[in-house]
Structure formats: structure tokens, C-alpha cells
């Protein structure tokens, strides 16, 4: 699911650690014993602040200025500035709108479906891969299964549109072969959410299994030997040794995914949307885009975006705290 780029398994030494103040500081004071401490600190650290500058300026401008810009959620935008402060009026309008709640419901339904039908798949893939005896065979399979993760959603959507086509797509060719009627999957409201689930699996089931494979490799081999001596068969070894061995990874990723619950992958949804199915897969992100950037209701769209951001923050902070308590590792 949404584990792209993030590395939940890796642990930050970051802000929790108290910086140790010896080391370089000491070696410098040897060189220039006469200088006052403040000047010393400045000349010591100045080059590092120069290194920090581009990144830091980026974070401030592109992450903090937008937070300030988000005040238009509390304003009425006028063609001739300044805008008028209207307090929570935009939010009242948002919460009073039927479409908004439909969009919320879609987001939650799609995320829940992915939780149930996407999240477990890489675990199964990893368990299957681990059963292969030939390392070379396993690596060849892995190197194919990882590939779709690196394709953009425009490409994946184009592939799905082609392969689900009722006239000449592979899936419907198979349906016709077994005597069933072709289905127009991409424009069928009952199917489209499942298409999101299936395409997400197509894209990431292989790649996401990597984290579980890494956890499996870390399992103590003597446990398997002990199980074999006890006469355990393949499935008993999977159930009693492998699975328990990767439970911490499963738990961490599950909690992380809960934290990302409202992020129902904008790029995916926007490329799978069409007029026939939009009522089924219009999510918060596509709603914000549509009413904001295409319909020009900037204040209402920003209000929706802020509402999602606040809910999302609550979820991810909760995920962080729960994860830290359960596994000793936070989300970052």
C-alpha cells in the first residue's frame, strides 16, 4: 500500500537523542585557544549551516508557507483583494454538503478494502517466495515482481484500460474463452473499486514483499532445524516459525498503513476515474482538486484539504504512539 519511499522499518536516532557535545568541539579549541566560545562555535558550524541552507529554505518555503496560505479556508476569496475573513463558514458549508460526505465515505471504503485485500497479499507472496529452494529461481521471480512498483499510475492505468477492454483486452478474452459475457470493467460502477484493489496489488504485491523477505531472512535458522527435529511439516514451519518471526514487521506496517488511511492514492484514482464511475471513487483528494482547481472554489477546497490534513495528522500521530508502545519503534 502506501509504504512507498517511506522506510518504516528503519529507526531514527533523530530528535530523541541528546546531542553529545564533545568531539569536534574539543579538537577545534585546541587549534584556536584564544577565541571566545561563541565565535568559535560560529566559525566551527558556519559551513554546516551553509550546507543546511538549501534544504532548510526548501522546507520552510514549500512546507510552511503553504500552511500559512491555507488561511483562505477561513476566508472568502474576492477577485479584488483583500479576502474577507469568514471564520468557519466554509467548513459549515463543507459539512453541510452531501457530496463531501459521499467523498469521505468513498475514501474510507476504498482504504478499508485495500487494508483487507491489498495489505495481506505481500505477506503471502513473501511466504511463497521463501519456500523456493533455488535461490536463483527465487531471485528471477523477484526481479520480475518488483518491476510494476516503479511504473507511474498513468502507465498502469493505461495498461489496465488496454487489458480490461471489453473488445480486445486479455481479461475479457479469457472470460469469452470460458463462455462468459465480457465486462466493461473500467466503466462499471460495481467493479471500479475492485479494479483499484487489483491494480494496487498488481503494482505493489511484489515490491512490498521485500520488507517481509528481509524480516524472514533475519529469522534464526536453528528454529527451523528444531522444528524439523520435532517432525514439523512445511505448513507447520510456516505457521509456527516464519509467521511469528515476521509478526513485528506486519504489525509495524499495519499501524503505518492505518496512519496513512486517508491517503487513498490520488494518482491511482485520478487516472482510473471516468464519468461512469466517478461517484464510486471520488475521494477527498480528487474532490479537493476538482472543486478547487477546476471549479475555482478555492476556499471550500482548501477547507476540505485542511480537514483531511488534521484528521490525517491525528491518525499518523496515533499510529506513531501505538507503534512505539507495541514495538518500541515509531513511524519515524
Amino acid at each position: 500500500m502506501a509504504v512507498t519511499g517511506s522506510n518504516p522499518a528503519a529507526q531514527s536516532a533523530g530528535p530523541g537523542n541528546v546531542p553529545n557535545s564533545q568531539g569536534a568541539q574539543v579538537s577545534l579549541s585546541r587549534e584556536r585557544p584564544g577565541n571566545s566560545r561563541a565565535i568559535l562555535g560560529f566559525s566551527r558550524w558556519f559551513p554546516f549551516y551553509v550546507m543546511l541552507a538549501p534544504g532548510l529554505i526548501f522546507f520552510v518555503i514549500f512546507h510552511y508557507v503553504p500552511i500559512w496560505e491555507a488561511q483562505i479556508a477561513f476566508e472568502q476569496v474576492r477577485i479584488i483583494p483583500p479576502n474577507i475573513w469568514v471564520g468557519l463558514k466554509n467548513f459549515q458549508m463543507l459539512f453541510g454538503s452531501v457530496v463531501f460526505w459521499q467523498v469521505m465515505a468513498n475514501t474510507i471504503i476504498i482504504s478499508a478494502m485495500k487494508m483487507a485485500f491489498v495489505f495481506p497479499v505481500p505477506i503471502v507472496v513473501a511466504l511463497l517466495l521463501n519456500e523456493l529452494r533455488s535461490a536463483r529461481f527465487r531471485q528471477s521471480i523477484q526481479s520480475v515482481l518488483y518491476l510494476p512498483h516503479f511504473l507511474g499510475w498513468v502507465v498502469i492505468s493505461a495498461i489496465f484500460i488496454a487489458q480490461l477492454s471489453p473488445s480486445d483486452g486479455a481479461v475479457n478474452d479469457v472470460l469469452k474463452l470460458v463462455g462468459l459475457k465480457p465486462i466493461s470493467f473500467m466503466t462499471e460502477p460495481n467493479w471500479i473499486r475492485w479494479i483499484l484493489v487489483i491494480s494496487e496489488n498488481w503494482r505493489s504485491a511484489g515490491w512490498d514483499s521485500l520488507l517481509y523477505m528481509a524480516a524472514i531472512i533475519g529469522i534464526d535458522q536453528t528454529l527451523y532445524e528444531a522444528a524439523e527435529i520435532d517432525g514439523a511439516n512445511r505448513w507447520q514451519k510456516i505457521w509456527h516459525v516464519t509467521l511469528p518471526g515476521i509478526v513485528p514487521t506486519i504489525a509495524t506496517l499495519f499501524i503505518l498503513n492505518c496512519g496513512m488511511f486517508l491517503n487513498a492514492d490520488l494518482d491511482q484514482v485520478i487516472n482510473m476515474q471516468n464519468d461512469a464511475v466517478i461517484s464510486q471513487i471520488d475521494i477527498i483528494d480528487t474532490y479537493v482538486y476538482r472543486i478547487g482547481l477546476t471549479a475555482g472554489q478555492f476556499s471550500l477546497a482548501t477547507a476540505a484539504g485542511l480537514f483531511k490534513a488534521v484528521l490525517g495528522m491525528g491518525l499518523i500521530l496515533a499510529a506513531h504512539v501505538i507503534s512505539k508502545r507495541l514495538t518500541g519503534k515509531g513511524v519515524w
Binding site: G14, G23, Y64, L145, P148, V154, V174, G218
Partner: protein, 297 residues
């Protein structure tokens, strides 16, 4: 290691292997089918099914057309600029920032970490981002899709951790040799971090090449479109005029006979080519790195 295997175990192994091979087929077949369609003789494409992976007849017309088409070439050019320029800036800024933050006694380090972590937790959405770009005059410039993701917070944290592992003595030795902070960064830190940097470079590259949503909203001028946006317009939005319309003019003799389906297929594959080109590197660096990390931890 291998205890005597019962027939049951052997059957199980065959089933497991078959399940995985089926997954491999499901992964590859769609791309092979598109490839076959794009190379087929235009006259024989109608009625070609979605299962086949062998071209019917052989024609490179589609590829010739795509690779000489102005809209496609502009798209390739724009994507290349954004991807290469963006990746270089990403890696440089991320590495510099990570190197500074890896100094544990840097005053303000903790505050900066908190500043970065807040951005992971809270993002007010696309509309404020859009207005920021508008205010800065970045709309319809390549900077708009490069700047908004100059430093990835996750990659930054990973790289900081990597740099923190470099022993303090190495840096002191470099300092004693008279190296300044930048020389130490360039000659000590970067070479030591090569595997981590390679991974991050590849991921930024993929990110930029696949960039779509921001490009769609920030780059409204058609001449600025990267390939992904051209592809979306043509295949997903079904805007055939984006490519076929031009081809029907007398620039391309006989182009009107080219099947739209074949063009679609070629266009999708063309967009995948750079990813396929760097994929072996991804396999080499990332999977090995992830495995090594797991064994160590």
C-alpha cells in the same frame, strides 16, 4: 539440509512454484502484449486479442511515428530536463542537509529535525501549494515540479542515519589534513555513502520520471508537458487529437492508417523505457541494500 522429500512435499513445491510463475506471467504479459501490438502490421491489428505476445506481421510504423512526433519529442525533452535536473538537485540538497544534520552537536539540530518531521505529519493539501507556486511565479516552469519535492523527508532521515555511522575519527583525520567542511563532505562523506546515495538517486529519478499530478496542475501549457501528461492526455483521457490529429495532416503520409490501439501501446511502452533502463541498477543497489540492512539489524 535436504531431508528425503515425500511425493506430497514435491507436489506442494510444484504448486508454490506454479503460483509464483502465474504471478510473473500476470506481471509481464500485459507489457508483452502492448509490445506485440505496437509492432504489428496496422492492417492486421483489428481483431488481435489481448492475450497474444507475438506481433501479427511486422511494422515499425508506430515507433517511427512516435519517435518523430513533435508532441512526443517535446514530452521526452521536458521529462528528461525535469528528471535529470531534478534528481541532481535532489541528491545534492538532500546529501548536504543530511551531512550537516549528522553532526550530533550541531546547535539547532533538534529543532530542524522537528521542523522536518512536522512536514511528514501535516500537509494542508494541494490548493495552498498551488497558490504558493502562483505567488512565486513558478507555474508553467519546470521549477514548479522540481522545487515542491526538493528534499524528501524520509530519504533525508535515512541518509542522516547512514552518515552518523561514519566514525568521528575519519572526519578528524580529514580536518587535521587541512580539509575544510566541504572538502570533507566531498572527499570523505560522499564516497563512503555511495550505496545509499545510489539508491536515493535512483528513487528520485523514478519519482521525477513518473511525476504526473503536479505536472498536470502546474504545467498547463502544452509545450511544457512531460511525457506522463502527454500519455495521460492521449491514452487515459482518450484525447486522440493530441497525437492523431496532427498525424492526419500531410506531415505524415499514410499515418492515418495507423491504428490508435497500436499508437496507445507504443506510447505506454515508450514511457516505460527509462524505467526499464535503470531497473537493473535498482535491483542491484536497493534489494542488496535492503537485504544487508535486515541481516545487520
Amino acid at each position: 539440509m535436504a531431508a528425503a522429500r515425500t511425493p506430497l512435499e514435491r507436489t506442494e513445491s510444484v504448486l508454490i512454484g506454479s503460483a509464483l510463475i502465474l504471478m510473473v506471467i500476470i506481471t509481464l504479459q500485459p507489457m508483452l502484449n502492448l509490445f506485440a501490438v505496437s509492432l504489428s502490421d496496422p492492417a492486421q491489428i483489428v481483431g488481435m486479442d489481448g492475450l497474444t505476445i507475438i506481433p501479427r506481421g511486422l511494422s515499425t510504423q508506430v515507433w517511427q511515428l512516435l519517435l518523430t512526433h513533435p508532441a512526443v519529442l517535446t514530452g521526452i525533452g521536458n521529462s528528461a530536463i525535469i528528471t535529470i535536473g531534478g534528481t541532481i538537485l535532489n541528491v545534492l540538497c538532500t546529501a548536504l542537509m543530511a551531512w550537516a544534520l549528522a553532526r550530533k552537536s550541531l546547535p539547532g539540530r533538534r529543532l530542524i529535525f522537528i521542523l522536518v518531521l512536522i512536514t511528514i505529519v501535516f500537509a494542508p493539501g494541494i490548493i495552498p501549494d498551488y497558490f504558493l507556486n502562483k505567488r512565486l511565479g513558478l507555474l508553467n516552469t519546470n521549477w514548479s515540479v522540481i522545487f515542491y519535492h526538493l528534499v524528501d523527508a524520509w530519504y533525508l532521515i535515512i541518509l542522516v542515519r547512514f552518515f552518523e555511522e561514519i566514525p568521528e575519527e575519519l572526519l578528524e583525520a580529514a580536518e587535521l589534513d587541512g580539509a575544510n567542511a566541504f572538502q570533507t563532505f566531498w572527499h570523505v562523506a560522499l564516497p563512503l555513502a555511495r550505496p545509499a546515495l545510489a539508491t536515493i538517486t535512483l528513487f528520485y529519478f523514478v519519482f521525477h520520471w513518473n511525476e504526473f499530478f503536479r505536472a498536470m496542475i502546474y504545467l498547463t501549457d502544452q509545450s511544457k508537458w512531460p511525457l506522463q501528461v502527454v500519455l495521460r492526455q492521449f491514452v487515459v483521457e482518450g484525447d486522440k487529437l493530441a497525437i492523431v490529429g496532427v498525424t492526419n495532416s500531410n506531415n505524415y503520409t499514410g499515418a492515418s492508417q495507423i491504428s490508435v490501439r497500436a499508437l496507445n501501446s507504443g506510447m505506454v511502452l515508450l514511457t516505460i523505457v527509462p524505467i526499464l533502463a535503470i531497473y537493473p541498477l535498482i535491483l542491484r543497489f536497493f534489494t542488496r541494500g535492503a537485504m544487508a540492512g535486515a541481516v545487520k539489524g
